[in-house]
Amino acid sequence: MIEIRDLHKYFGALHVLKGIDLDVQKGEVLSIIGASGSGKSTLLYCINGLEPIQQGKVAVDETNVHAKSTDINKLRQKLGMVFQQWNSFPHLTALENVALAPRIVKGKPRAEARDIAVKQLTHVGLGDKLDVYPSALSGGQQQRLAIARALAMEPEYMLFDEATSALDPELVGEVLDTMRLLAEEGMTMICVTHEMGFARDVSDRVAFFHQGVMEEIGPPEQIFGQAKSEHTRKFLANVR
């Protein structure tokens, strides 16, 4: 379970997250929507400790992410993350991209890391691209590669930061399908997304962020049907 309590985040004087309270249960799929600059990405970075926080607390399975005593590299193994930019390692083949972290972070023997990589690449539909370099993959394939790479660490949570925003429209579908597959398999997911269809169909809950505040959270029917907040309704009217 991910617990976020009264989280405040500043970049210098800029107050980016203004007291977020949020629990994400095991097995839940949460989508986060909101305008650009509302702090959605920053929230994800605070959850896996890529950004320090100034006030409040984030705990993952009762481990305080930002405590000095926390082994953050160990904790991050539980939290897979997929970014808007695919960030595939260009100097490694698809297989090596996925096998690298299990090998050097988890210390798995080469052969075992390879098996994990083959399994996860097959999982995301790239079983026939094992020895291909990222430069020879499409954006959608590279993003699925990034998902496989994160899954290879056997995370318990997956954080998606606009995983489809940088893709050509015709490639969005294959990545969303992969995310859907993970959701069906019971993965706990937090998805920052602009794909309202995905948020509506796949999420258990949808959170709307507005200027650093979690303005509203609820089941998709509520957010997309009868949003309580004026800001939510306005935002949704504009994206549709």
Binding site: Q77, F83, N87, F89, V105, A150
Partner: protein, 220 residues
């Protein structure tokens, strides 16, 4: 043909070996200083990248000095003043020392550029997989940044190899000094300098070819 016992004797096969041997010394002094200079240069480059303010006040100005003062002045100054502070280095060691620092100063900028060439979001991706700071540097930044600035590094390496000719002013008999000695004796500057030039070419050509083929391989 009458035997030439005069002081100014012609260019013979032994002289060719003499030049070849000197070319080996040029190669040796270059390999040493480029290798050491690269190791220190990468370290300095990392300090420049990470250290920001501290680096700007300490390492950066020192490197600037070594980068901008002509090498020949550095060599002569170092060779003549090192003994004063108790460092008794011969011409070879002095040459290696100065060429190393010089190479390090050049490589430092290249290395910093290499680190900067790796996207912040790429580094976040590797950290998000649980890699430590050092694993990210070793397995992600080094190969990606290294490839990005490899051509610049090759340029530095070839430059240092050619600049090693300046160590001749300290009396170290590398390729250029050897040529000067032979020219004085044979009075055949054109022939000898051509041969010396050919040796320099023979030393650098394989390096640039190999570098080009590496780059081609990486580009795929």
């Amino acid at each position: 043909m009458e035997p030439t016992l005069t002081f100014f004797s012609g260019f013979g096969i032994n002289d060719f070996w003499f030049l070849g041997e000197a070319a080996m010394r040029t190669m040796w002094i270059s390999i040493l200083s480029i290798t050491l200079g690269t190791l220190f240069g990468v370290l300095f480059g990392w300090i420049l990248y990470e250290g920001k303010l501290t680096a700007a006040l300490t390492v950066a100005p020192v490197l600037d000095v070594f980068r901008s003062v002509p090498l020949i002045i550095q060599l002569v100054l170092f060779y003549n003043f090192a003994p004063i502070v108790g460092l008794n280095l011969d011409a070879f060691a002095s040459g290696v020392a100065i060429l190393t620092i010089y190479a390090a100063a050049l490589v430092a900028n290249v290395a910093r550029g290499g680190i900067e060439a790796v996207d912040r979001s790429m580094r976040r991706a590797s950290r998000s997989l649980g890699m430590t700071y050092w694993q990210d540097l070793r397995y992600v930044v080094l190969p990606i940044g290294g490839r990005a600035v490899f051509p610049a590094w090759v340029g530095v390496a070839l430059g240092v190899m050619k600049d090693s000719a300046l160590v001749s002013v300290l009396g170290y008999v590398e390729l250029l000094k050897a040529s000067q000695i032979l020219i004085t004796r044979t009075q055949e500057p054109f022939l000898i300098l051509s041969i010396a030039g050919a040796f320099y070419f023979a030393l650098s050509f394989p390096i640039s070819r190999y570098a080009a083929s590496l780059e081609k391989r990486w580009a795929q």
